[in-house]
Amino acid sequence: MIMRTYRRALIGAALLAGTMMTPAIAQMKTITGGFDVGPGGLQGNFNPMTAPAGYTWLSTYFEPLVTYDAGLTKLVPALATSWEISDDKLSYTFKLAQETWHDGQAFTADDVKFTIALNKNPKTASLLSARLAAIDSVEVKDPRTVVVRLSRPDNALIVSLTKMMILPAHVLSAIAPEDMAKNALWSTKPIGTGPFKFVRYETDRFVELAAHESYRGGKPKVDRLINRYFANAAAAISALRAGEIQFTYIESDDVPTFKGSKDFTVIEGASYVANYIGFNNQVPLWNDIRVRQAVMHAIDRNAIIDSLYKGAAKKADCGYVEGSLIPKGLDAYAYDPAKATQLLKEAGWDKINGTKPITWLTYYNNPLTANVMAAVQSMLAQVGINVVPRALDPAGYNAIAMSRTSNPADFPLVYAGLQNGPDPGTLNLGLNESQIPPVGQNFLQIKIPELNAALNAAVAETDQAKATTKYQDVCAVMNKTLPWGTMWVANRYGVASVKLKDFVWTPAPGGGPFAATPEKWSIAP
């Protein structure tokens, strides 16, 4: 009896404690979101050097020197208040902001020098290593000035620097480069300069940040930011509808359920990701350009965009869709099954492959992509190309298509995407022969000399106007030589609660970074 009474008292006390804690929590202004949901997010990744995505969240507590504005149209200051590029394009001088690290130490030019050296060192597994190869030396002029000297002009360098989060030398210099990639420090006590500072990571559940009160952009308007983890976008949508989170990425087929809602705002933007049918150049199926042309003519891209994307995608006739990069006279590869059949006949497709099944891999695991691939499968079947879609989880896809031990016969065809902006030079990583792994991302082993020349000329051009013309040349060569069957660039979406004020988000590729100004975000009660 006594035990029973004791137990009841204990449970009662716990319940009471729970109830009493609620007002304290309510007093703290907190924004909770699914900031790492969708293709721009990367749950469980805390190291900004090895992050191919997840920058929306990472840039709430880390900062680069420069970043894109929220419209992804121009570069704006971040930790560098200004920068100058010398006339010969070989010297970049950055003036640095007055800021303190989250642990109270002063941020100086030495941290910038340290971060560049860290990212250039391949042993750290930094994905920026190759992109910073043109940097010859870094000179610290004074604590607020740093000069980056190049061995050759590289007009993509400044864009690469938007992805390079500045890291604290006083914290990381003690760690050996080869132990850096997966060091526990990243998920336990990372130190940044951003408007929020790291509090804790509850494994597989959420990451909590607290306001960096002395932030140079002003004390953040909310006390805490919480990034909740979800198994998929659908789970995040449930939490959003239930009022548990205030923001998440959503798939395009969920947009109609939020449009017109008085409780939510739909945010729409270009994905800057070109989706393509990738021909593996290590297998002989696609050597004849007439076969690649036939693939293009066999697919009714307009119908797919209208019926499956509901118009929220732009047909791409090369790697770009942005108007200034599109030259006149491109072949539109209009839907023409008869022409596709004729081209296959001329190429001798019966002898090359005939109707034998061709595995078509993708890492996109969502209903929309499944429907798109099924539609393409049936269109290609009509002209005699028998593709079999196979969606894999990222680990499975990487092992088959991206690993250094890959067998080319296992991935004759892929459906994938590659970032094509805001800097058009990013396409170079997947298309130039010089970017075949492990240097770059040209895992389809595309080797087209005319395309290499066009890309090299565009990437090396430091004059903006001339560079645009040279990227038009890249587009024209892509359209003519078909290194990929480029399909479209789709829009992507996020949904925010109307309770959020001054919230800035854009569906940037890899999640950004962009000037999201998280210190200004607030939430209505």
């Binding site: 929590i25 391949p122 994905l127 080869e178 997966k182 597989d204 449930s238 989880d393 088959i400």
Partner: protein, 319 residues
């Protein structure tokens, strides 16, 4: 009797080793390399550095050597380190996740047992009445509905539309621990886990009870003046519950699978979610450790079921 249990225990250990070999081989046959999950395949490491990394992770050795190294360490209580979560030992990780899974599974099962047995007894006692037909219909619908549909419908109706319970997680992110918060998060996934099993238990309980209610000894008890409630609870239920106990024992193994599924739908941070993530990242040591732990749990529960069977019915003897 003791010899029987020792034999069962030995057989269970053999089954565990066989299970671990099976999982070990299947994992290696699946596409996906833990090194690619550990580091982005496009990381600019040279082949020598990649080889050194593979060696450091113990992935350069032959399969039998890898397996025997794992087994000998596991027998000594060391399940190694997670590949995906560098520096994190597998055993503490599993122990940390066992609590939430047990909480969810046992709450769900307890609710299912209570509901199932009570409604089974009512159905049998009030045989062919409106209440019996109603309960039967509910059981039929819940058993016939796929578990994923139950879970997703429950999530949508009770969390999204009615907002009676949170849509996922075990505690409110960022909030300090409170029992009320935990219970609020627990009630929906546990109830949905309970729904299917309670229907199963109810059907078994009802048919077993009907059989027992026709026995002569119950008539004798009533003739001796024992009250109807006591007749049903003390005399009929005790005999009728035997097959249900067996069912409960064998259901625990299945319930672990159910809990894993529910955990994925509700982002419940237990073993299920851990395993799903470990499979996605090809985190071999975590998958192996979790499989071993779950397998050991199922075997132990089966042994305990045998024991409970003998306790409830002393007539049962094993030679």
């Amino acid at each position: 009797m003791l010899g029987f249990y020792l034999k069962r225990l030995a057989a269970g250990l053999m089954m565990l080793i066989a299970l671990s070999i099976l999982v070990f081989v299947l994992l290696r046959l699946a596409p996906g390399d833990p090194v690619d999950a550990y580091l982005n395949p496009l990381a600019p490491l040279s082949q020598t550095e990649m080889d050194a990394l593979r060696q450091r992770l113990g992935l350069d050795r032959s399969w039998p050597v890898q397996y025997l190294a794992w087994l000998s360490a596991a027998l000594a209580g060391d399940l190694g380190y997670s590949i995906d979560r560098a520096g994190v030992r597998v055993l503490p990780l599993l122990v940390e996740r066992t609590g939430p899974t047990l909480l969810l599974m046992l709450t769900g099962l307890a609710m299912a047992i209570l509901l199932g047995i009570a409604s089974g007894v009512i159905g049998a006692v009030k045989r062919n009445s409106a209440i019996d037909i109603g309960l039967g219909l509910v059981a039929f619908v819940t058993i016939s509905t796929p578990a994923f549909l139950n879970a997703l419908l429950g999530l949508y109706v009770f969390a999204v539309v009615l907002r009676w319970a949170p849509s996922g997680g075990m505690l409110t992110p960022g909030a300090p621990f409170s029992l009320s918060d935990l219970l609020a998060h627990l009630i929906l996934p546990a109830s949905l886990l309970a729904v299917v099993y309670s229907a199963l238990f109810m059907r078994y309980m009802r048919s077993s009870m009907i059989e027992v209610l026709n026995q002569d000894y119950l008539r004798t008890a009533r003739a001796k003046g024992v009250g109807e409630f006591a007749v049903i609870v003390r005399h009929a239920l005790r005999n009728a519950i035997l097959p249900v106990i067996t069912l409960i024992g064998s259901t625990i193994g299945i319930a672990i699978g159910g809990a894993i599924f529910i955990e994925s739908v509700f982002d419940w941070p237990g073993m299920g979610l851990l395993m799903v993530k470990a499979v996605e990242t090809r985190d071999y040591p975590v998958i192996m450790g979790a499989t071993l732990l779950i397998g050991a749990g199922v075997i132990l529960v089966n042994l305990l079921t045998d024991l409970a069977y003998a306790v409830v019915d002393p007539r049962i003897q094993v030679r």
